[in-house]
Amino acid sequence: MKKLSFIMVAVFFMISASLASASTLEEVQKRDVLQCGVSTGLPGFSNPDEKGNWTGLDVDACRAVAAAVLHDANKVKFVPLTAKERFTALQSGEIDILSRNTTWTLTRDTSLGLNFTHTDYYDGQGFMVSKKLGVKSAKELDGAAICIQSGTTTELNLADYFKQNKMKYQAVVFDTSDQTVKGFEAGRCDVLTSDQSQLYGLRIKLAKPEDAVVLPEIISKEPLGPVVRQGDDGWFNIVKWTIFAMIDAEEMGVTSKNVDEMKKSTDPNIRRLLGLEGIKGKGMNLSDDWAYQIIKQVGNYGEVFERNVGQGSPLKIKRGLNALWNKGGIQYAPPIR
């Protein structure tokens, strides 16, 4: 009987001990590598190149956090996740950040035990069709078969849109975006639907990109951004302010190229950003040059945007909503002071 109770007590401690865990920041620093959940391959956002290096807007968000926390933008382990797997991976602690073109919604923010940090890409759902069909507007899609990725907000928006416009559709639901492209290419469906930015990315994956067109309609709001676990406010702050720092840097004209010169600047805003005066990294338990490291190693928001999805990339997406607030967009970050 003694043995039995001993086992029970041991098991009790084993389980209850695992409840109290160290903060995410401490864990990442101890591990010396940031675990970042990304997509299984989406050009412009998170996509591995021929050498296996990940690039993209979502990838750079993680690299920026790694630069701030570990002083090395390359100390990131990328974990490719399907739309279905992503939240469980974050909830269970398999990853530290989920940066996987994930739409911020009420349900996800409040019932999954997760927190959305900041929108680093304002997107909306669109449709891509084959040119052969001669369709000009989404309103002409009654009765179409539509390829879609499972477990996305897109699936729900689609149903709403067709119901509102009293149209019928057949949803052909695949697991990964690669499979949806294959299905679309083979002609299994007439339409491929996803966030519009993704459509441009998926379009260049087609064998003949010129045969497909993206329709003008945008049927939903899709604010995308990095997600962290609920309940670790310190880590939440770090990820949030990493994105803010990149946006503020663009606003102040600090780039990866001129950041060293900017250290000599007398502008107090820039001096605070680069950790030369003010509160520096103290409130986040980071080193003083946290934002300097982000800008030096990854770049400001504008650089990251143009490099991955903008004019410097095959996608050539215009800034649009994602331009800074003082340049016609809605990207706006609180001041660093």
Binding site: A144, T152, E155, A159, K182
Partner: protein, 405 residues
Amino acid sequence: MGALFFFALFDLHMATVEHPQKTAWWNNAHNRALLFQVLLAIGVSLFFAFIANNTIHNLQQRGISTGFAFLKQKAGFGIIQHLIPYTENDTYGRTFIVGLLNTILVSALGIICATILGFIIGVARLSSNWLVSKLAGIYIETFRNLPLLLQIFFWYFAVLQALPSPRNSLHIGEKFFLNIRGVYLPSPIFQQGFGWVAGAFILAILATIILKRWAGKRQEETGEQFPVFWTATGLILLLPMVAYFATGRPLSWEYPVLKGFNFQGGITIIPELAALLIALSVYTASLIAEIVRSGILSVSHGQTEAAAALGLRPGKILRLVIIPQAMRVIIPQMTSQYLNLVKNSSLATAIGYPDLVSVFAGTTLNQTGQAIEVIAMTMAVYLTISLTISFFMNWYNARSQLRER
């Protein structure tokens, strides 16, 4: 814990009755065994209660919703194939049923097709015709040695997608269409009076059963045979036909018509179902064929010779002598193949067939985020289906076992 339990049982058997009064109650082997078992049971249930409680507590602490209330919420997404009426306005609970029925559909069809195909290939493998036996051998070695997922992709992307677009469908008349979106068949519309036709069909089947019993009895008594097969075929075809014409042909058809992008009306077999069904059947049949072969080879050759000496033809030898004995070897192994097929059907999610894993443990899980509840329900379904198949197959196995008199 296990060791204690067994020692306790062991004590029970070693109990002596020499000094029944002098031992204290806790030294009584029987009482002690009972005590240990009760303690063990309490311990185990406490352990599981603790785990469950701990999980719920942790989920709540992390702000993750728990419970089954989500089943009553509106789902809001479409499902391409549903055997019961379903729209976006239905609940998550209904998506569970829709997914479940799709899983059962593909599994049941798969089991039937794989069994028939497997038997044919297995027998062909033993054929004395060199070409037939070699072809069967190639079939088996090819399909059972390729990963199933690869085969599913092959049937879906390579074969089915080579089909034409809806506007260039292959067709038989204006009634049957085949294109990349699936197979389109006319759907029957039953009108008043069709009940008579159905009734005639049931009557014909009942008559066949009675006829077969009577013929069997007559053969036992007189040795004379009666052509049951041909009579039964005539009955089953003729009786409903007579009823059909007598009631004024109460059946019409709705034909699929190309409207806009796709065909509307009629019955649609989506390519995902076809690809998954073909892949599951072809793969499992290659395994079943080997089981059938081993079963047939387990019946000693003396049986064949004895049957031949009695004057039975080869077809009858196989049907009446070999197969019934081979079944005793075949059935237990078939059970595990059927279980595998059902479980393999969850690979559907790779090609977008809306089975339980794809719809419920996929989309529903992701929209609600209630992973533990959804996965638990999904596991319970597969467990229930598998246990049902095992139970049924065990019952059938017990029935077909050798009864020694």
